[in-house]
Every structure is written in structure tokens, then in C-alpha cells.
Amino acid sequence: MSFLNSLISGISLGSIYAIIALGYTMVYGIAKMLNFAHGDVIMVGAYICFFATSRFGLPPLLGVLLAVIVCTVLGMTIEKLAYAPLRSAPSLAVLITAIGVSYFLQNAALLLWTPNPKVFPNFFARTVLTPEGAVFEKTGVELFGGALRISYVTLVTILVNVVIMIALTAFTGNTKMGKAMRACSEDKDAARLMGISVNTTISVTFAIGSGLAAIAGVLFMSAYPNLVPTTGSMPGIKAFTAAVFGGIGSIPGAFLGGLLLGVIEIFAKTYISTQLSDAIVFAVLIIVLLVKPTGLLGRQIREKV
């Protein structure tokens, strides 16, 4: 049963990584840049949702919606101000700018919201009255007489991930904008010749990625409710790893990479060592990249002379 428990919490953590990894992989696929500030957008989303619900008393769903809107606008603003002027610059210059944006967001959060950790509320807890008359918080369902415990957060996270994956696959496959995105990731110049506005497409990509980051931020905080201005960096690095693991630029790859990374991390924590779990995750990544240098579902890039 402990195996099943670990597997489910692994899938749940992996779902969060997958949602964040989508942001990395879509931006990489289209703008060919590593958006290091993505992890900090998660943090901003979590803070917005936290303040909306705890301070202003909005219902959780509205709080999440507000976080998504703010992050979407934030993502598009960052893209316009910091990345768009560097479109023809060397990729390392864009990378350093992204790092600058990441520092900026972290330090702005530090000033605005202080370094004191905030305890994120659990939206999925229900107050239940036991037959004896005691009140307690019910945070999950118990199966097999309590041997298997699944929290509501876990269920919602997995469900949200599946919905996002299906929606995103449908979006990139069928809509006009989705097709434009695929065209841009294939060949930007050819796409431009076909009348696709590359700038708009990149903007929309950032908007979607950042909106998803807000959702991931809320889900991550619901599972690990310690909110500080540097909250986003570690899941950001892990999700970036997950995106590379699955083959960067590929949407199903981000899904697969995220899930696998989450499951490996939780299994490493349960069965090997808590302290070394990060090292094990990265070691598995290295082994996978050695066997398959472009990630699990990455396209083989043919080199031309």
C-alpha cells in the first residue's frame, strides 16, 4: 500500500511539474529561449491567489482566476519589455536577461510581500462533523480502511493536469493560433512569409505559459503550503529538467517528463534517501540524456553541413 501511496503522490507532484514544464517547453519551442523567470511567475501567481483569498476574502475559484489573469498579463509584459527587443540577439544575451527578470521578480516580491513565510490556505479541506460531535478538517479520502490516503489536493491536481493536457493538445492541433504556434516553432521565417504574425504568436505563447504557471503555483502551494519569495525557483528548475527529460519543445514530452520526474522524486524520497532525492532525480536525467540525447520524446535534430 505504501507503494501505491507513493505512486499517487508522485503522480500528483509530477502533474505540477508537468504544468510548469509546459510553459518552458512551449516558450522554448517557439522563441528558442530558456525562460528562467518562469519559476518566479509561479511564485507571483501563488502570492496573488493567497492575498485574494486570505486578505480580500474572495472565493478560491475567483482567487485562482485572478492569479491566472495577473500572471498572463505579467508574462506578456515581461515578454514585450525584456525579451522582444532581443529577438535577434545571441541566445546567451536572452538567457542573461531572463535571469535578470527572475532576480527582479524575486526581489520585488521580497519588497512587496516581505520574506516572512505565508501559510497557504488549503482550499480543498472540508469541515466535517463526526458522529461523536467533534469537528475536524477532512482533507482527503481514505480507501481500504485507511491504508490508502488520497488528499483532495492530489485528486484535483491530477484532474487539472489531464484537463490542461487535453485542452492544450486540442488547441495546438485544431485552432488557427495553435497551428500558427506549430508553424513558428518549425520555421519562423517561413511562417512570417505565410502571413503569420510571429510577434503575436510568441506573445500568446507567453500568455498561455504564464497562465498555466499561476495554476501550477496554486496547486503546488496547496500541496506544500510554505510561501516565500524564492518558492518558485526549485520547482522551476525541476520543471525545466522535466521539460528537457521529455524532450524540450514537445508538449507530450513535458507531460511525460513531468510525471516521471515527480514519481522518481517521491520514490527516491520513500525508498532511498530524503536528502539525496534531488541528486537521484538529476542522476536519472543524466542517464536518460546519455541514452537518448534529445530527451524521451524529443525530435532527432539532423545536422547539416
Binding site: A93, T97, Y103, L111, I286, P293, T294, E303
Partner: protein, 349 residues
Amino acid sequence: MKKLNLTKTSRRSFLTYGFVIAAYIILQAVSAGGAMSPLLKGMLVPICAYVVMAISLNLTVGILGELSLGHAGFMSVGAFMGVTAAISLQNAIPSPALRLAAALVVGALFAGIMGFLIGIPVLRLNGDYLAIVTLAFGEIIKAIFNNFYLGLDSHGFHMSLLQDNTHLEPDGRLIIAGPMGIGRIQKIASYTAGVILILICLIIIFNLVNSRAGRAIMAIRDNRIAAESVGIPITKYKMMAFVTSAAMAGAAGALFALNYSTVVANKFDFNTSILVLVFVVLGGLGNMLGSIIAAAALTILPEALRQFADYRMLVYAIVLILVMLVRNNPTIKSFFERFRFGKKGGAEE
């Protein structure tokens, strides 16, 4: 600074040496005159360490052309092994200067070996995949040092992972204590030693770059397939640059750690790697003098911004973004281009 690119490589390298020596003499004079603030005085050794980090990473990123996001890992190996050597040799080598030299050599040696081991898998990959694997190795090194215990007693070294199972004799000393790192370090690092280390690293890099091997390395950077087709052994030369770079980072780590009384593994994390990468990119790829100036300026900048108190890191971030935007703005670029005399220089991209 841009004008320097016009001159010949050898003239540029002499200018770099000259700059370092001049900076050293000026700072020594200021220090002797008592005009130096204690804040700056305390930062001299870390600045030297970051300068060495920057020029060594510039060898990987600028000369070899591979993005490394785990350079702090080598710094970490050098720091832990160098300090361990300094502590172990406390009785054998009484002179602090010689002990420091020994520590730097040991740090460089271990980091070089680590660079070789990591290089075997890493250098098979390309581009962003190589970058993420260096990131992964940096994180693995950090995680291992956070759980590594090393003690020394009359029976020699004892080590263990995860838990302190070293079972030392009563006279023994636990040198590396897992997440607590190394404590009670004798601060034997000096500014003079730091400058000497910078000069040694510069001599190594300039001689490497201007040698047959260096030209091969740059040929691989410019076009790997073409280089391979004229018979350059890719892996050998990549490894040469990577290991040299790692060893220098190790020496820098040992110097850095021996300036403080404690050192912990979390000091050398992803953010440190990124910080050094920022020095390299701001200073200009392949431009050693640029790296030196950027490393020194950006290490001082957050301290110089102290008057902004809470806002200093925010200002730092904004300055970083603006510098990148201005440097890559086509209008401003062409404006400065007009001031260049004659032919175009530049080692950038």
C-alpha cells in the same frame, strides 16, 4: 574597452596582465595609505575568487562555446577539498602561504579530476542538453557535499555518507560535517595570493588559446563538423578546455573558502553558477579582460548599492536587464561601431 579588440591578441593579453597588476598596485597603495574602507578590504579575496571563476567559465563558454550551468559545482569541490587539505596539513606545513598554495593545488586537482569524470558524459551532448546536464551535476555535487562526512584522526581519513559514521578517535577532528560544512577554518587566503592565482590562470588561458590546441578548440566552437572533417579530435580538445576550466574553478573555490571561517555546500548552488555566467556574458564572450572587470564590478555593485538598502538587489536586477538591452540594441551598437577605427574586431558570438 571595445577599442582593445582592434589590437593583436598578444597585445591584448599583455594589456590584461597589465590591468591586473596595475589594479593590484593601486589597491595595495590605497590600502597602505589607510584609505580603503574595511568593506572593500574584506571583499578583495572574494573578488579575486570570482574573477578566477569568471575567466575559467569564459574558457568553457567563450572559447569552447559550450554553456555550463554548473560551474559552482567545481568551485564547491575545490573549496571542500582545498580546505580539507589546508586543515590536514596544518602541522606538516607551518607556513600559511605554502599551506594556501598546497590547498589551491589540491582544490584544483580534485576539481580537475571531477571535471574529467563529468566531462566524459557531458561532452557527448550539445547545446541546451549539455547545459542542463552541467546544471544537474552541479546540483548532485551540492547534494552529496550536504550529506558527506569526513574526519581525520591518527588512523587517517574516515568518511561516510548521509550519517556521521566516521567513529573518530578522541584526538580526531570531523572536518566536513554534512550540512554544517566545514567550520573553524583558519583564514589564510590573502589578496596577494588571489592576484597571483588570477595571473597564473590568465597565463594558462592565453597560452592555451594561442597554441595549436587553442586554435583547435576555437575551430570546434565555430564549426564542429568542419573541425571534425579536418581531423581534429573533438572530444580530446573539448575535454582539455573543460578540465582546465574545472581545475581553475577548483582553485578559486579553495581561495574563496579559505577567506571565511565556515563553508557550506549550499553556498555553491545554481545561483552561484548563474552569477558567474552573468559576469562572463556581460564582460563579453572570449574577452578575459571584460570578464575580470565585470566580475569585480558586479561583486562590488550590490555592496556599493547599500545606500538603497532594501532596493539594492532590485536595482541590480534592473541594471542587469538594461545593460543587456542596451548592449544588444542595434541602433546603439551601430552608434558605437562608428567610433571603431578601421577593421572590425570582436570575439563575441
